[in-house]
Symmetry: C2
Subunit: 187 residues, 2 copies
DNA sequence: TTTGTTCTAGAAAAAATGTTCTATTATGGG
DNA sequence: CCCATAATAGAACATTTTTTCTAGAACAAA
């Protein structure tokens, strides 16, 4: 049914990440050049620049969240630690998506002019994360602010010390763990 | 000696921060409108868009560093803690500069095309910070990576949970302190 | 007051960027 | 083999954004 597509979304998203890191901004011309895809194809698939940016953002957020929620739900000796360590692992294993999440600005990636269905989807994902964190905080009898700091703020702050210039070292996990455990310990 | 200037750098930098937060990007037209300054004046003072961005970035970095280095040098019961708490304080007391540092991308603010003297100045500032952190790590006999995480990564990750949408709450300091102390404790 | 200097003002020009459009290519089904 | 469909390609077009340029305003010193 029709001509098959000649490139993956993933390839374009990687180009977006690359531009974000190299030039600090996403120009369509730079994306097409990097990904080796024509402007016509970009518009055919994503509709507009806004659509492309929103798609890249959504893809990265969803991929991260899948791992994060799974880790948060899995039973552990130290509840929450696995979830905190998802961030550095994600940065090592899915560099492109991690770069979009760490160096992309939300207001720029998912602007007011982005397709409404995509904005809705993002809101849904955010609500899901929020609910999961609140449930965790309740179960553990810890303040929500501290849980957010431990599971998101600290790991993100940690990997940003390296990205986008350097790879996230394995040794970072031990330091993250130390900080996270201190935050997730009740008094 | 010539006509006096009718606006402060600060006013323009605040407009840059505002654009960064509101639109996720810095358009000169938006800056001139927000700051109430003509394009002619912007070019007269900053030379180009790149020059303006570099100036705003440099101003924010320098302001932060002044406080950070002072705190790091001041004697304390818990060495380094005061330095870690500079970040949330900076976000409360110098919001515009904090927004530039937290939401601006370095590659965009200080691009390759920025004035060479400004790029040099930034390199000098970075070298200064690096040296201070290394000295601190040596004195405290702690790994440099852990010191960087404690004094920069954690506080930055913490305030980013709030900025740019919300104010950084006072209660955050206690949580940051907890995490930082666990990282700065040997063994 | 005149002169020299520095700054502001904003429209015009130039450059860069995003979008549309038509032609073309690749695939499957009738 | 021909048709319908769906995708690619890239030049032409439209829009947006940056930059330049000329005129004029504010101030100090002579």
């Amino acid at each position: 049914m029709g001509r098959p597509s000649s490139f993956l979304d993933e390839t374009v998203f990687a180009a977006v990440a690359n531009c974000l890191v190299e030039q600090g901004e996403v120009r369509l011309q730079a994306v097409t050049a990097t990904a080796g895809v024509s402007t016509g194809s970009i518009y055919h698939r994503f509709g507009s620049r806004e659509g492309l940016m929103a798609a890249a953002w959504l893809d990265a957020v969803a991929a991260f969240q899948r791992r994060f929620l799974a880790a948060l739900a899995s039973p552990e000796e130290m509840p929450g630690l696995a979830a905190a360590l998802v961030t550095p692992a994600f940065c090592r294993e899915e560099v492109g998506r991690a770069l979009i999440l760490t160096t992309g600005r939300r207001a720029e990636m998912m602007s007011d002019k982005a397709p409404p269905d995509m904005r809705l989807r993002l809101d849904q994902l955010n609500a899901q994360s929020k609910a999961a964190l609140e449930a965790f905080a309740r179960e553990q009898r810890l303040p929500l602010a501290r849980v957010r700091l431990a599971l998101i703020g600290v790991p993100l702050g940690a990997v940003r010390l390296y990205l986008p210039a350097k790879a996230v070292p394995e040794s970072l996990d031990a330091d993250i763990s130390r900080a996270v455990m201190s935050l997730l310990t009740r008094d």
